[in-house]
Amino acid sequence: MNANPSSTTFTKPWLWCLLMALAIGLGWLMQSQGMSFYLSMLSRMMIYGLAACSLNLILGYGGLVSFGHAAFVGIGAYTVGILITEGVPSGWIGFPAAMLVSALFAALIGAISLRTRGVYFIMITLAFAQMVYYLVNSVKAYGGDEGLNIRMRSDFGFGLNLKNDLAFYYLVLLCLALSLWFMHRLMHSRFGRVVLAQRDDDVRTEALGFAVYRYQMILFVLAGAIGGLSGALMVNQQNYVNPNLMHWTQSGVLMVMVILGGVGTLAGGLWGALLLLTLEDVFAEYTVHWQFYVGWILLAVVLMAPQGLAGLFKRKPKGVGHG
């Protein structure tokens, strides 16, 4: 039986296994060559990639343009940060807690936002995220606008020290791989098919007997939870979290990553994050006006590869004469 073409992003298991092996090998190589700076940069890119992929779940697969996704990333980061500050450094508690708290916020925000459509949905998710941003800014107990420093990184036991760049890199890689695998299974399940259907036409989906709102809610909450996971990793990498992580411009950055990489493709957010952050780092070497040049490149990608990077490698579906 052939899979749904709209959800098939040229997924070949062996290709993913190869990529995974490469990523594992690359980390080991970088560490052994003393390139820990680049290793940590790569970790950062993959964390952003995970955040962008989780946004892609709602934005790309769900067709719901959420403009407040950074809030869930930030909430995840603060959950871990606050737990460590309060003397609960265990990652086995912190990471699930980050996902849970982000999921709860997503449920709250989604319950109201998903009653609106189109530009109203964009604005209301943006408004909620800004509310969270200002709320965190005002909580002086956890640093307020100065941010929150953490004394130590999350502790997973088993002699795993997250201060070690390679160990941290592998943790990020594991979280990313598991999340992508989960999202892949999700989008190919019955649930995923309804999600894709409501993206095509929500009224028709409702008219076939699906409670569209409920499906959208579940999707929104799952995306929030995975966003929270990326936040948990982020605070661990930077030993620090600051309300700016939740600012609406951060939501915009995640969105740009998704668009660059490929809207509605499994790993689009990851490719977009790799490209955007690489461009940033490269141009920032030469000029303080790097954003100007990065902007031109974004424009070029959007114009010449409207389906993003993933679209460039995507085989055209059979039987389609155009598009």
Binding site: N2, N4, S6, R193, L208, G209, V320
Partner: protein, 251 residues
């Protein structure tokens, strides 16, 4: 009226000062094709939207299988067997034809929230979809994307999607809209084949098709039902001729 599948009692819908649905009462009996005709702007589309739960009613009552469904959402009505098709084709255009139907079959079978098992591997779902496609004459187009179908084929699939949910009552909203003579013949045959399997409320502009298919006809003008009866009676009803049929013949 023990055998009425659908009973509409004095249903009302206002849009500002405009009364789109003006105390409409009608019923659809088991196994019958009940046609709803009326000039443009008569309120047919509003009525279908109200009956399917996509548009809230201001007053009145809708009973389906003797259950009050007036306040129910669209998906709850579908679960009970009240299913509509759309005047403007609404397919899942990025899905294959088979996956369109499989989705409709999925809506009424098995686990509603399955997050992990690949749906493409569900043999029963796809076999059933294939059987339905065979029924409506689209079996050979199963692997085509819905957006690549011809207009006539899309109209057939539109009705097929509604059928695949195994309805007890079909609301067909202008199933022949925009089709040529050959295509509309195909849809007339399709609807004729559904007769006695499912009750149908047929909203249609094509009078030839209506008089061929319908057991009873209701005429809607300015939001109100002005006549209801057998095709023969409706054809000769002076009020209907004045309000609607005459206008068509003179045009």
């Amino acid at each position: 009226m023990a055998d009425a599948v659908l009973q509409v009692k004095s249903l009302v819908k206002h849009f500002g000062a405009l009364c789109a649905t003006d105390h409409v009462s009608l019923d659809v009996r088991a196994g019958e094709i009940h046609a709803l005709i009326g000039p443009n702007g008569a309120g047919k589309t509003s009525l279908v939207a109200q009956l399917s739960g996509l548009l809230a009613s201001d007053a009145g009552q809708v009973l389906f299988l003797n259950e009050d469904i007036t306040a129910m959402s669209a998906h709850q009505r579908v679960r009970r067997g009240l299913v509509r098709s759309f005047q403007i084709t609404r397919l899942f255009k990025s899905f294959t034809v088979r996956d369109n139907v499989a989705l409709a079959v999925q809506a009424r079978t098995g686990n509603a929230y399955s997050f992990w098992k690949p749906v493409a591997a569900e043999r029963a779902l796809h076999d059933e979809a294939q059987a339905i496609l065979h029924d409506i004459g689209l079996a050979e187009r199963a692997d085509e994307l819905a957006q690549n179908l011809s207009h006539g084929e899309q109209r057939v699939l539109e009705v097929g999607l509604a059928m695949a949910t195994a309805p007890k009552l079909l609301l067909l909203d202008e199933p022949m809209a925009g089709t040529g003579p050959e295509e509309s013949q195909r849809i007339v045959d399709l609807i004729a084949g559904l007769k006695n399997r499912v009750a149908i409320l047929l909203v249609e502009h094509d009078m030839e098709a209506v008089f061929r298919l319908a057991d009873r006809i209701s005429v809607l003008v300015n939001g109100a039902v002005i006549a209801c009866g057998a095709p023969h009676d409706i054809r000769h009803d002076p009020m209907v001729i004045a309000a609607y049929l005459g206008e068509e013949q003179s045009a």
